[in-house]
Amino acid sequence: MLFRVAIAFACLFIIAGVAGQPAGDTALAVQQTIAPVTSLIATNHEYDNGTGIDLIWVPSIDDRLAPSRVTGYEVWRSVVGGSGSRIAELPAGANKFTDEQCSRESTYVYSVVAISVAGNAVSISTAPIQPAREWINLHRLNLLAIAFLVSAAVIYFIQSARSGKKLFVRKIAGLDAVDDAIGRATEMGRPILFIPGIQDMDDVQTIAAITILGRVSRVVADYDTKIKMPVSRSLVMTAARETIKASYMAAGRPDAYNDDMVSYVTDEQFGYVAAVDGIMVREKPATCFYLGAFFAESLILAETGNSVGAIQIAGTAMPAQIPFFVAACDFALIGEELFAASAYLSNEPKQLGSLKGQDVGKAVALVVIVVGTMAATIGSAWDVTFMNQLWSALKVVFQTN
């Protein structure tokens, strides 16, 4: 209701403003003053917590001259029943502004000042407006729908796997090598090095690394191999200890577990790498696992590991680092395979079901890309309206804001 009243007021003001502009405006221009902006409207900024107001206006006619006589605009805001202040300076040519510093409790009036060397021109103020708060962000309905679609696919296949349906999962190179690699370390009597990346627990890749650690340490406990895990984050140390301890308990050898298997080194990227390199050349691990989020250190680790003759299994979802692991390690999990690995290694049907759910997501991606690209191509080359509409519809669905 209030909103409509505001709009009505705004319209009235615009009409008044336009009508009220004297015909002698151009004559004034000769006297070196400039015309103010017109049609200034304030509307509530949609789908926010009641903090934003959108302003839109038609720039001063003097701004349309070449060169423009306007040097810029100032946006002024005053709280009804309070003082006014300048809230923004905009370059010439600007015709909109969003004030994001409003309070839901206040009512505001705006005006825009056109600035020029010769003098300033103040616009007619907007109608009083109070920002409103919305409870659901309808701009993100597409995100919600896609999140729902992907989640539903994953959950559906987890459920159907749980109910005993057999699922095919392709081989992931490298994962089959895990057991052999640990066996090799046992035979050689050398330790296994497990590096969970250098990010903290707030990175999903680190969590994926910890879940793979659960499986690796289970085998380690069974074989009675030594595992060494220097980490660069204290929280990762805590989580890794819990995980390894659980594996040793599950293997029935809680007495063989020791907190020193996991040790904190330093948060500093290269300090950590320096220490890990030292450990590698001094203790000569037979097998190195590099799983998690890696940055530049990926190749320093992989090359040093190679120089001491270790079998190296790596996996990361850092696109920039995958090439180094592919080139320098014996086995590398590429991107998504890192996340699939924990499900794959667990060999639990419900975990494998989630992989099938991911594939549904990929199928959706494939279909959308093919349809969207075809629509775009046909639409733009032969000007087919329907295809153009289809293309923009798909764009809207997959565009994020």
Binding site: N49, A147, S234, A328
Partner: protein, 224 residues
């Protein structure tokens, strides 16, 4: 209690944060929760730092091999900690800027930590060369493709590569090595990057769901 409460906390917090994206009044929660994470991580430093001290003290006490170096670590750690926490030498005192040029903290950083870090980083120049020498060999088809792509890019960034193919006329200048290198970066490379990113996106979404639903809970350790 030991089992259900953590799983409930994970589920509750995760779902709350997903929901908050769609609810304007809750939109800033994600950001707040990240701050909470940082605060908890600082508490975790007690565990990490304590572990570091314990390991090196033990090494010194039992005079294990290389125990002398552990003294270096301990002294460096304590000196830096004192310099940082008490802002030693900082003209602004306890409320001065941590990285003011005259403070001990910044002097130690600039002259010890920074050269060490940069040099460790610079070792990559050697390692990247030895990795190229060792890994870029035409062992099979995949490796050959890797080799050829890397070779074109490498060559395209040397004056030698420019010289080699500068005779190619402008209407075929895509075949000039530097242009070909740029094209590989903006064509096939982009395609590969995108495919990897789409996969990663799905992998993380599915992993997050498994965590929220309590299917993936290795990080919690033993259930019993």
């Amino acid at each position: 209690m030991k089992r259900e409460v953590p799983l409930f906390i994970t589920f509750f917090v995760g779902t709350l944060l997903i929901a908050s994206v769609f609810i304007p009044p809750a939109e800033s929660w994600g950001e707040n929760f990240s701050v909470y994470f940082d605060i908890i991580a600082v508490f975790a430093f007690f565990l990490g730092g304590g572990n570091l001290l314990r390991i090196h003290l033990q090494k010194v006490a039992s005079k294990r091999p290389d125990w002398g170096y552990s003294i270096v670590t301990l002294v460096a750690f304590l000196v830096m900690l004192a310099a940082g926490l008490f802002k030693l030498g900082n003209p602004g005192g306890i409320s001065g800027n941590l990285t003011t040029a005259q403070s001990w903290f910044q002097i130690l950083f600039q002259n010890i930590m920074s050269p060490l870090g940069s040099t460790m980083y610079a070792l990559l120049a050697f390692f990247v060369a030895s990795a190229s020498y060792r890994a870029f060999r035409a062992k099979n088809r995949d490796a050959t493709i890797l080799l050829v792509a890397a070779f074109i890019i490498l060559l395209g960034r040397t004056p030698f590569g420019t010289m080699l193919t500068s005779w190619i006329p402008p209407q075929y200048d895509l075949l000039q090595v530097p242009n070909l290198a740029i094209w590989i970066m903006s064509g096939p490379n982009l395609a590969g990057q995108r495919a990897i990113m789409i996969g990663i996106g799905l992998g993380i979404v599915s992993m997050s769901l498994r965590i929220l639903l309590g299917i993936e809970r290795t990080y919690l350790g033993d259930d019993r």
